[in-house]
Symmetry: C2
Subunit: 337 residues, 2 copies
């Protein structure tokens, strides 16, 4: 067996309480005593049993992280940012990947995180009232990435402003006939980006005195294939747009493909801009709105740890900046080919 706190106590010639205090850096321990304990612990290669500590203290030093899909770019970024902060704060990261709708239901009914976490971090999931209720029974702080909910810690970006900047960029290039490829605003999942990004698009148009044209507005469902489909549909109609704002890079990829298949050129005939600055955006020479997902996750984790440390948070939502990245899909002089 590995050494227990008693072994350390014996070796250091103190009680187990003193060992506990010394090792956890609590006050009211004489410097010399602490040194003796630390030395003894090192010599024995002692590590406290986290489970015994958790049982005794009631704290788990663990944060549960809930993501809809780990294997998507966005959520992988999230996980990276979270892991860094949590590790640094001495917290374990327990991963819950919902995967699909049955998986999602299972999570919210079985509640596998019960009695295992000090806090829960939910990434970009818009929860139903029932789901939110379920989480609240965990009786622990909840933080959400990118989704504002009353009484819940939130970090994200200003999707509306980002979309506005994207469309303003197109307008500044002299484009006036700007299509929109977006997500379903009526989707029962109620992802927020489609709502806000569309809003920014409309704001930018109206600020430039351009009238919104429903013939230029198609659903791309946040996938490459959807974006391609949407663009094809738009291209079959009159008038032809001279630019497209896609609410995600994936949809923008699809749109570019549809445009080229139609024998048109990007950006000469139609300029394309996306949103996210996905890894492959540079590769495909796509102009876009960059957001630092990992940073958002990091900030959120840090705030959550502060709350766990007892600090009272004032703000509930914190927004990080986005940045326009101009590439060849809107500006031919920047083209990498």
């Amino acid at each position: 067996m590995s050494p227990s706190i008693e072994d350390v106590a014996r070796r250091a010639g103190v009680s187990i309480a003193t060992v506990s205090r010394s090792l956890r850096g609590l006050p009211d321990v004489a410097e010399s005593t602490r040194d003796r304990v630390l030395t003894a612990a090192r010599e024995l290669d002692y590590v406290a049993s986290p489970f015994a500590a958790r049982l005794a203290s009631g704290r788990t030093s663990t944060v549960g992280v809930v993501v809809p899909f780990v294997d998507r770019w966005f959520f992988a970024q999230v996980l990276g940012g979270l892991e860094r902060e949590l590790q640094a704060g001495g917290f374990d990261l327990l991963l819950y990947n919902l995967g699909d709708t049955p998986g999602r239901e299972r999570f919210f009914t079985v509640m596998p995180a019960r009695k295992r976490v000090d806090a829960l971090l939910v990434a970009s999931l818009v929860l139903t009232d029932m789901e939110l209720e379920a989480l609240k029974t965990l009786n622990c702080p909840i933080a959400m990435l990118g989704v504002e909910v009353e009484g819940v810690l939130c970090t994200g970006i200003d999707d509306r402003a980002g979309a506005r900047v994207a469309v303003e960029h197109l307008i500044s290039l002299g484009r006036r006939s700007i299509a929109l490829i977006g997500g379903d605003t009526e989707d029962p999942m109620r992802f927020t980006p489609p709502l806000y990004r569309r809003d920014g698009y409309l704001q930018a148009l109206s600020a430039a005195g351009i009238e919104y044209d429903p013939r230029m507005d198609e659903l791309g469902y946040f996938t490459v294939a959807g974006g391609e489909q949407a663009m094809s549909t738009i291209l079959q109609r009159e008038p032809r747009p001279d630019a497209v704002f896609a609410e995600s890079d994936e949809m923008a990829y699809g749109a570019m493909r549809a445009i080229r298949r139609a024998g048109l050129r990007v950006p000469e005939d139609i300029a394309v801009i996306g949103f996210d600055d996905h890894e492959s955006a540079e590769l495909l020479d796509l102009s876009t709105i960059r957001q630092d997902v990992s940073a958002q996750a990091g900030v959120l984790a840090k705030r959550l740890l502060n709350v766990l440390a007892g600090e009272t948070e004032t703000a509930t939502a914190e927004l990080l900046p986005t940045e326009l990245v101009v590439r060849g899909s809107t500006d031919p002089s920047r083209s990498s080919y």
Copy 2:
């Protein structure tokens, strides 16, 4: 406070030992007794405290997962596959993301997984002897994805065979002058794919009676930029290849870019094939060797759980199949444009 095992025992009119046995599905409990206990537990909405159970039993029901970078496609896939199996097996997944070299060192010296996991799963990391030694002090089963080590569970693919198939495909198209863009076989990290994939390339050439030409062989460092650089270098030399095998899709993207920038056409002038079937490979119309990373991870997790369940594994390494995916970068008739 949430109900404890005593509350359940009281309500069911049995002892806590019986509650424990009933809830865990152990034998030697009368059917009627078990029913009473299950009912009581349900009525109280009881869930056992995992930490108390772990402290008492010494088992953690947790598997530690070590990845070099969560935010890369490959490892995100791995995580998805692992989470599914572990969750299904009732195990918690504790995530350790190394991130960089200091992070790696920290992990292997601090050993944050100590006393927290029943087993460790390491994804595609070739460990130094010291690192392996460190892991062994955890005294628990170890499984590695894609890396064969004596006495360690392993699942992966046959990189050599995959590479051979890729190059054979190029040869079957009538190409004879086939360049290689790969990883550094001398890299101190000693990733295995560069070694094996290069080997497969050489085997295929030699089987076809084609002589290896070092002027056609450049390092691409498994990045897009590296692939582009390597291809440019090769294109500056004589003779010009009529095909390229890149050891990863990313490097293939870079190669395609370099080829087009040089005013040449893919695949007419130079056919390009990659490896992995990265998400964006289809988008970029890249022929490649598909591997199902998530399945590899799933299989490995399952095998690990079997070992934890006491079954003795016979085989140490298990290889999953790869598949040639032909797209427009080698076959113009399949081009999506």
